[in-house]
């Protein structure tokens, strides 16, 4: 028979677990309510307010591709094109094949470049067709299968011959997918990219305010970071021109979303 102290501990555990289960739907409802409220503000043309509402969801530590996408839309409508592109890129990492997302990115890139956007090579397009997590799962499934088949063969040596074909196939697939995963990681992290977030950013020949200006980049232009020095970034734009601009004029695509406390309006 259980001691009274054990009864109390068991009862407290049950009550605590029940409270968590009850609270979880309430938490989910809060996010959904915030999402719907943000969408309503967007429909009413209050884009700044809509953006703040989506940011409040991010401040809660939760996200999804749809939230990033909608936030990008609200920022674009609020004439903050650079920040819109940044959030579209975050959404692209979670949902790279979303046609609406790709259409919006293409729309903005055309508007900035004044024509068709620069073509990425086929290999990059292939790698960016899946998110990093999708590549990870794609590599791990055959890899695990291969290792488990190997383990099975070690455990039951009499099955080794029968499993040989599957083991080799699993190993080959695992190897290929591992290579693809590594390539995707390399594409994701090798070249740091950033988005201009000011109306006009003057790109200079050197990392000095006195350096002669070379060209200007508009809000929303995407650049590749080549070098950094003393608050300046050497960047390469879509037209393969490179120069130096101020670091505070861009936001890095690989940076975590700038979650800040959002004051209710």
């Amino acid at each position: 028979m259980m001691a009274p102290r054990s009864w109390f501990a068991t009862g407290a555990t049950v009550v605590f677990a029940a409270l968590i289960l009850i609270a979880l739907p309430a938490v989910a409802i809060d996010f959904n309510a915030a999402f719907d409220s943000a969408g309503k503000s967007y429909e009413q043309g209050r884009y700044a307010e809509s953006a703040r509402a989506y940011e409040s969801i991010l401040a809660g530590g939760k996200t999804s591709a749809a939230i990033y996408y909608n936030l990008g839309n609200a920022l674009f409508k609020d004439n903050r094109v650079g920040q819109a592109v940044y959030y579209y890129r975050q959404a692209e990492r979670l949902s790279p094949r979303d046609p609406e997302l790709q259409a919006n990115l293409a729309f903005i890139r055309r508007a900035i470049s004044g024509g068709t956007e620069a073509e990425t090579d086929r290999w990059q397009q292939f790698l960016r067709g899946l998110s990093l997590n999708e590549w990870t799962w794609l590599a791990l499934v055959p890899l695990w299968a291969w290792l488990l088949l190997l383990a099975l063969g070690q455990w039951r040596t009499q099955w080794k011959a029968k499993l040989r074909g599957y083991t080799v196939t699993g190993g080959a697939m695992g190897g290929v997918t591992i290579v693809l995963l590594v390539s995707a990681l390399n594409d994701h992290y090798r070249a740091e990219s950033a988005v201009v977030t000011v109306k006009e950013s003057v790109v200079r020949y050197g990392p000095l305010a006195e350096s002669k200006s070379y060209f200007t980049l508009r809000d929303g232009a995407e650049v590749t970071i080549l070098d950094t020095k003393d608050g300046w970034l050497q960047v390469l734009d879509a037209s393969q021109r490179f120069g130096w601009l101020r670091k505070e004029q861009v936001i890095f695509v690989n940076a975590r979303p700038p979650i800040r406390s959002v004051q209710k309006s």
């Binding site: 989910a28 996010f31 959904n32 999402f35 969408g39 967007y42 969801i57 991010l58 530590g61 939760k62 996200t63 999804s64 591709a65 749809a66 939230i67 996408y69 909608n70 839309n73 609200a74 674009f76 409508k77 990492r93 609406e100 259409a103 919006n104 729309f107 903005i108 055309r110 900035i112 470049s113 004044g114 024509g115 068709t116 998110s131 990093l132 997590n133 990870t136 791990l140 890899l143 695990w144 290792l147 488990l148 190997l150 383990a151 070690q154 455990w155 040596t157 995963l181 990681l185 994701h188 508009r218 037209s239 393969q240 975590r256 979303p257 979650i259």
Partner: protein
């Protein structure tokens, strides 16, 4: 076209005489002014005023006014008399007939009212105010097309005033531009007015019979009063008025729907087109600067350069534009567009010329201006030398390619699956650790298998382990037999343990092991008597027990340590695998 202007020609050189009493109502104690004006001549003598009981007329002076109206010079002789009432009442100043050259001139009788000293003066009737200031609206033409620019002139006429404000013009259905004002003087009837002219242009944005105006202009006018008793007080009062013009009905025609040229963007007027492009000898990837100038009359600021589908083989940068008005009202001017294009391949031989279309309201037809193509020599760059011809927008060649989007896609209605904001799985430590598990499992099973194979390939080792396990188990059973006082089983087990251990050590079958093994196999390999004696005794004890098995549990248990020592001595610790 009807040009609406108030244009009054000054009368001929014949003398005209007018008499005016300002004001015609005063309070007792104040005075009024009788103003006799002679235009085109002067009287032969000082005009005499007929006597009126209780009114005194005092000559206050004379002056001459010169004016130039529509190029004609004229002068006016003015005689002023102060009218001083002796008491309140209604008076009539009879007709005045001055002595002049030519036919006699007579003024009509004038009513004059003198109120008691504390009575309020009546407000100036609107008709009188309208004579002091009025506002007129003129348009260049009453019939225009949608988008056609037309001139507008608003004129404020006033005799004396100040603090003129910019007019408000009601123009629903039109877009009006900024105003340019000018001042002058005009004669309307027999009165010379100060005129402020406000000129602007307007553009109708919808068709139909639309009311343009009215216009309204605020001004503070001076209303003459009786001569004040205080000489420092001005002889007028100030009153803010807002004269309003009548609206003008405009007939706004819609643009013709037939023969609308492709690419027509709504420009109405009369324009010319010019285009320059350079450099024309360049490499793939080098920029060409295109300058397009559209000049002429019309709403030049709103002219847009049409989208050039023929330039899709070029990468285009955003267009910069600049307008320069040729006149203050911006009715005509030049708009310059500058765009940078970059050829994407060396197959390009020309830059298609710009096409601009507009509607000319003068001829009531659409017109299309086209610039000739600009020949280009595009050389392949080093990196592009081996590339085949690639269109920048392949989908444009597809017959079913949809037109480019004009706005971003709408927001998503559902948030989808929410997750914590965190790095990709591959970069999370716990995930990396989990991925090592199958490898460890595989490795562990591999090691296990190798050990098994090693055992299988070494019978003696296998036997040694089996015997070790047998001995370990046997020793436990000895305790059980001893506790149960099962001496027969006890000694039998000891015998089997000795057989197993000795057989394993000597690589002989266990069943072949007897006491004789001690002398036959152990002594020759160097076992000393010290080691052999306990073993021999244990064998003898087991033999004796067959015939005399009566022993107590304690006696049996006392033998177990000896058995353990013997077995340990024979080859290893009990239970070794």
């Amino acid at each position: 076209m009807v040009l609406l202007l108030y244009c009054v020609v000054a009368p001929a050189a014949a003398l005209t005489f007018t008499a005016r009493l300002l004001p015609d109502t005063i309070r007792q104690g104040d005075t009024a002014t009788l103003r006799l004006e002679f235009s085109g001549g002067s009287p032969k003598a000082l005009p005499s005023i007929p006597a009126v009981p209780n009114l005194t007329f005092a000559f206050a002076g004379q002056s001459t006014e010169w004016s130039m109206v529509n190029g004609q010079q004229s002068s006016k002789m003015i005689y002023l008399f102060r009218v001083i009432p002796a008491q309140p009442g209604d008076y009539t100043i009879p007709a005045i007939t001055p002595l002049v050259e030519g036919p006699p001139q007579t003024s009509p009788p004038m009513k004059f009212k003198v109120l008691p000293g504390t009575a309020p003066l009546p407000a100036a009737p609107q008709a009188d105010l309208d004579k002091l200031a009025f506002f007129r609206l003129f348009v260049e033409t009453n019939e225009v097309y949608v988008g056609q620019v037309f001139g507008v002139e608003m004129k404020l006429y006033f005799i004396a005033g100040q603090d003129v404000q910019l007019p408000n013009l009601r123009c629903d259905g039109f877009i009006a531009n900024k105003t340019v004002n000018a001042q002058g003087r005009e004669q309307v009837g027999d009165t010379i007015y100060n005129v402020i002219s406000f000129r602007t242009v307007a553009v109708p944005v919808k068709a139909g019979r639309l009311a343009f105006g009215p216009g309204e202009c605020n001004i503070t006018i001076r209303i003459p009063t009786a001569a004040p008793s205080n000489p420092f007080q001005p002889p007028y009062s100030l009153k803010q008025v807002s004269p309003k013009s009548d609206p003008v009905v405009m007939n706004v025609l819609p643009l013709p729907r037939e023969n609308v040229p492709p690419g027509f963007s709504g420009a109405v007027g009369n324009y010319s087109l010019a285009m320059t492009a350079g450099p024309t000898n360049l490499m793939v990837g080098d920029p060409i600067t295109i300058k397009v100038q559209i000049a002429g009359s019309g709403a030049i600021d709103s002219v847009m350069l049409p989208a050039m589908e023929a330039w899709r083989e070029f990468k285009a940068y955003p267009i910069n534009s600049k307008s320069e008005a040729a006149d203050p009202l911006a009715r005509s001017g030049v708009k310059t567009f500058e765009q940078i294009l970059i050829p994407q391949n060396a197959e390009i031989k020309k830059l298609p010329g710009v096409t601009f279309s507009f509607f000319d309201p003068q001829v009531k037809q659409y017109r299309v201006l086209t610039q000739p193509d600009v020949p280009l020599l595009v050389r392949p760059s080093d990196a592009a030398a081996q590339q085949p011809t690639v269109l920048t927008n392949i989908t444009a060649n597809t017959p079913s390619a949809p037109p480019p989007a004009k706005d971003i896609a709408h927001i998503k209605p559902r948030p989808g699956l929410l997750a914590d904001i965190q790095p990709p799985l591959i970069r999370q430590t716990w995930f990396q650790v989990v991925q090592t598990l199958p490898a460890f499992v595989c490795l562990a099973l591999f090691i296990r298998r190798k050990r098994q194979e090693h055992l299988e390939n070494n019978p003696r080792l296998r036997r040694a382990r089996e015997v070790g396990a047998f001995v370990e188990n046997g020793l436990r059973q000895l305790h059980a037999h001893a506790g149960a006082n099962e001496d027969e089983k006890f000694f039998e087990l000891i015998f089997h343990l000795l057989q197993a251990r000795l057989g394993e050590r000597l690589d002989l079958p266990a069943s072949a092991i007897t006491q004789s093994v001690i002398d036959e196999h152990l002594r020759p390999v160097g076992w000393t008597e010290e080691k052999l004696v306990p073993l021999r005794e244990m064998f003898q004890t087991c033999d004796q027990a067959r015939f005399a098995p009566q022993r107590t549990s304690q006696e049996l248990a006392a033998l177990i340590p000896k058995v353990e020592a013997i077995l340990q001595q024979l080859g290893g610790e009990p239970g070794r695998n």
